[in-house]
């Protein structure tokens, strides 16, 4: 029924598909982690090796081969936690993750703005990060995983004083609150006003370290600020915040 050539072609397609799946999974795993820089290093080494071989530079090729083996051992030691987490996650990931729809995004923005408005009036401190392209896995793991649907009540509840999760930040990915009580990196920007507290510094710090947008409500003044790409915009009204978020997250 099938000729040998057909079987060989099918096998080749299957092999390429499996290879693609493995490579794509590795890319997804590395996306948004520190290991991306490692991947860049590996690509540079691989290209150099290829060039040295083509140019018949045997000594350099030999040195690079030896260095590569040493480099692999270093990777295993330095990235041991990431490798372990990656192996655990293997098989859990949905390869076809899909962006939320526009209506869902608008619903999310409305819920966030509503919660921020209430917290601002009540002078409740809050720190909310909205994930965009760059993953925030390291920060998510520093907090408590929730994976809960966003509602204004839930956000207010998380930041209510005297509750266990009110210290630290909330991370929102798509339509879900992924984690709460997360630790964000503090900025060391000397231009930032000295009067600003840790919450604002953490917001700016995370927006510097990733492309996330971070909303802060001040405990002292009840003002709302938004950090994007290391820049802090202060004293926003709920409608300002809604307009900016719509512009940043919505595509219409």
């Amino acid at each position: 029924m099938f000729s040998l050539a057909d079987v060989m072609a099918l096998k080749a397609i299957l092999e390429i598909f499996i290879l693609w799946f493995i490579i794509y999974s590795i890319f997804l795993f590395l996306k948004g982690t520190k290991a991306v820089y490692l991947l860049r290093g590996l690509v540079i080494i691989a290209i150099s090796f290829f060039v040295f071989q083509k140019a018949n530079l045997y000594v350099l090729s030999w040195l690079l081969t030896k260095f590569f083996a040493f480099f692999l051992i270093l990777i295993a030691i330095i990235f041991q936690p990431e490798l372990r987490a990656g192996l655990i996650r293997l098989g859990k990931r949905h390869i076809f993750y899909i962006e939320p729809k526009q209506e869902e995004i608008k619903k999310v923005i409305k819920a966030i703005v509503s919660a921020v408005g209430v917290m601002s009036k009540k002078r409740i401190g809050a720190l909310i990060a909205l994930k965009k392209e760059i993953g925030l896995r390291d920060y998510i793991q520093s907090g408590v995983i929730l994976n809960a649907e966003i509602t204004p009540e839930l956000i207010q509840n998380i930041f209510s004083p005297l509750t266990p999760l009110h210290d630290g930040g909330v991370i929102i990915d798509g339509t879900n609150i992924v984690a709460a009580g997360c630790l964000f990196p503090l900025t060391d920007n000397p231009d930032l006003e000295r009067a600003l507290g840790m919450r604002h510094r953490a917001a700016v710090g995370l927006s510097e370290a990733s492309d996330a947008m971070v909303i802060v409500t001040s405990e002292e003044r009840g003002s709302v600020s938004l950090a994007i790409n290391g820049q802090l915009t202060r004293n926003l009204s709920p409608s300002d915040l809604q307009t900016i978020l719509n512009g940043q997250l919505g595509k219409e």
Binding site: A12, E15, I16, F17, L19, W20, I23, Y24, F27, L28, K31, H94, F96, Y97, I98, E99
Partner: protein, 50 residues
């Protein structure tokens, strides 16, 4: 349970969106997969030749 979830997911999402999401990452991965496969096959078959 898992199959039902996947069926619902495929129905909600649609084939087009499934392909276009992370499109460049998928395309680069495919390119790399093809290059690696061709390279390894080349090495293996050259070893077999007499």
């Amino acid at each position: 349970m898992k199959i039902r979830y996947l069926k619902e997911r495929f129905r909600d999402v649609g084939f087009k969106q499934m392909v276009t999401y992370n499109f460049w990452l998928k395309l680069i991965s495919l390119g790399m997969a093809v290059i690696i496969w061709l390279y390894v096959r080349g090495v293996l078959t050259s070893g077999i030749k007499v």
